[in-house]
Amino acid sequence: MPVNYYIFLAIALFSIGIVGVLTRRNAIIIFMCIELMLNAVNLMLVAFSKMHHAKALAADAATTVGTDGQLFVFFIMVVAAAEVSVGLAIIVMMYRNIHSVDVNFLNRLKH
């Protein structure tokens, strides 16, 4: 497949994530949209990794070029997991106190 397709697909997903972040008010859904963005990045990284691999493969059949991209994806997943645990803890803490996860309630600091 031309890598272009994957770039566009990933960007589309990424943009959908951003739109979600901008349009939703539920903190959890915003967070989910962020996860969606990360996944778009992952997809793109894998596509690029395979692209670079294909390029290097032409020269050297035993090449391992491209593994770094996939490992980066792995690290992103790892970090995302850590982030989720903390993030949800924070959201739950918030919910415990104000019984809402509406980000529009986040305006106490404005006063």
């Binding site: 963005m37 990045v41 770094d68 690290f75 924070i90 986040l106 600091l109």
Partner: protein, 457 residues
């Protein structure tokens, strides 16, 4: 490398200390001793003694600059701990855990100040961010703290997303995560690379709260427990800035001309917004939050100029800024009333604290013979030396004058207004540390060579 490993180990140690040790005093002393030890090993490494020979496969480079900055950061953290560690008790029950998180943040600081691979940058930024989200929200009953934490978290995660997208695009165009691909100045970068660079720029701007990506900062700094705001606004911010400049110097240094204008605009916007909004604040804490934005604007000048001297200047700036802000926050934490009027008549009841606070404020305002002046001086100097930044320098100067307005409001309140005794109690250690801090601020202002002597790359 010394610092990275040992701070991680110390973090774990602190984590267990909460279970094993009952006395908070002991935990605190342990943390301070640990930090001092960390400083020691880092200085040893600066002198060439590394305990661990680990092949990082060219993902990290402990060059002079990074080691020096780490030293500075750890030193500031040490001072911070000595001054404010006791005040963490007020935040919540997880006393030892807070220290553990601080040590982990130090790990992250080491990473972002010595990375050579985007992967390490990413991990470093995250190791800094995640504990900070927690520390921000550690005052669990306080709605403001909760809110700040959530806000910080959502926006932090969002900017991480942007950053990763940037990294991905860069990877697409270069095929590597190393920052040393260094495209020549005459090579036309691909669209992928430009898009990636911009996304990285924006996300890093988010992390160091440059306008227009700054909007989270005041709320978060205001909402977080003041002890942690102090740490966040100083050492962490400086560290991320170091990462920022490291990234853009190493990876995009040769394309400097192509993004300089953006940097300039963002700098100007940051200076403007930070300073002007700070003027209208009623709470000193919030004012300091905005002032941190303004100071970030000044630090941005180093990115705008991007020369060898810019590194020196940034280092000096981070030192000056961190020391002074830590000092002010240390006093602020003790206060019950964070508004300006809360400081009314402070000098009468606490002349020593007031005097040191004044020194810090003067340093932040950039009055000569304080380290703050010298750092601002450096920033202006490199801006002018880059040959194009006259307007930016003049603008920065005007904004610095504006900053004097709000910094001096505190001084005015302390010295020239009448007020009640704020009834705060401080230990002798606290006082002496403050004095040392103030002395350092002045000493670095008078003899910057003490620090600059070490800075050569």
């Amino acid at each position: 490398m010394n610092t990275l490993l040992i701070s991680a180990v110390l973090g774990v140690l602190m984590m267990f200390s909460g279970v094993l040790l009952k006395s908070r005093q002991v935990i605190r002393n342990l943390a301070i001793a640990g930090m001092a030890g960390l400083l020691l090993v880092n200085i040893l490494e600066l002198g060439g003694t590394t305990f661990f020979q680990i092949n990082t496969r060219d993902m990290m480079a402990f060059d002079r600059f990074s080691l020096l900055f780490i030293t500075v950061a750890i030193f500031s953290t040490l001072l911070y701990l000595v001054l404010s560690a006791k005040d963490m008790e007020k935040v919540g029950i997880n006393y030892a855990e807070y220290f553990a998180l601080l040590f982990f943040i130090v790990c992250g600081i080491v990473l972002v100040s010595s990375f050579k691979s985007l992967l390490i940058l990413f991990l470093g930024v995250e190791i800094i961010s995640i504990p900070l989200y927690i520390l921000t929200g550690s005052d669990k009953r306080n709605l403001k703290s909760n809110e700040a934490s959530l806000k910080y978290f959502l926006l932090g995660a969002f900017s991480t997303g942007l950053m990763l997208m940037g990294i991905a695009l860069l990877y697409g165009s270069t095929g590597t995560f190393s920052t040393s691909f260094r495209l020549g100045p005459d090579v036309k970068p691909s669209a992928l690379m430009i898009a990636g660079m911009l996304l990285l720029f924006f996300s890093m701007s988010f992390k160091v709260s440059l306008a227009p990506f700054h909007f989270w900062t005041p709320d978060v700094y205001d909402g977080a427990p003041t002890v942690f705001t102090s740490f966040m606004a100083t050492i962490v911010k400086a560290a991320v800035f170091i990462g920022f400049i490291r990234l853009f110097n190493n990876a995009f240094g040769l394309m400097h001309g192509q993004w300089q204008l953006i940097a300039a605009i963002i700098t100007a916007a940051t200076l403007f917004i930070g300073n002007i909004t700070a003027v209208f604040q009623q709470s000193v804490k919030r004012m300091l939050a905005y002032s941190s934005i303004a100071q970030a604007g000044f630090m941005m000048l180093s990115l705008y100029a991007l020369s060898a001297e810019a590194y020196e200047g940034l280092l000096l700036y981070t030192v000056a800024y961190s020391l002074a802000t830590i000092g002010i926050f240390a006093v602020l934490i003790k206060m019950n009333d964070y508004t300006f009027s809360g400081f009314n008549g402070f000098a009468r009841y606490h002349p020593l604290l007031a005097a040191t606070t004044t020194v810090f404020l003067l340093s932040l305002a950039g009055i000569p013979l304080t380290s703050g002046f010298l750092s601002k001086f450096y920033m202006l100097k490199i801006t002018l030396a880059s040959g194009k930044g006259m307007w930016l320098a003049v603008f920065a100067v005007f904004m610095a004058a504006v900053s004097v307005y709000y910094y001096f409001r505190v001084i005015q309140a302390m010295y020239f207004k009448e007020g009640d005794d704020p009834k705060i109690q401080v230990t002798t250690t606290f006082k002496w540390t403050l004095v040392v801090l103030a002395a350092l601020v002045i000493l670095l202002g008078v003899f910057p060579n003490l620090l600059l002597y070490w800075v050569y790359f």
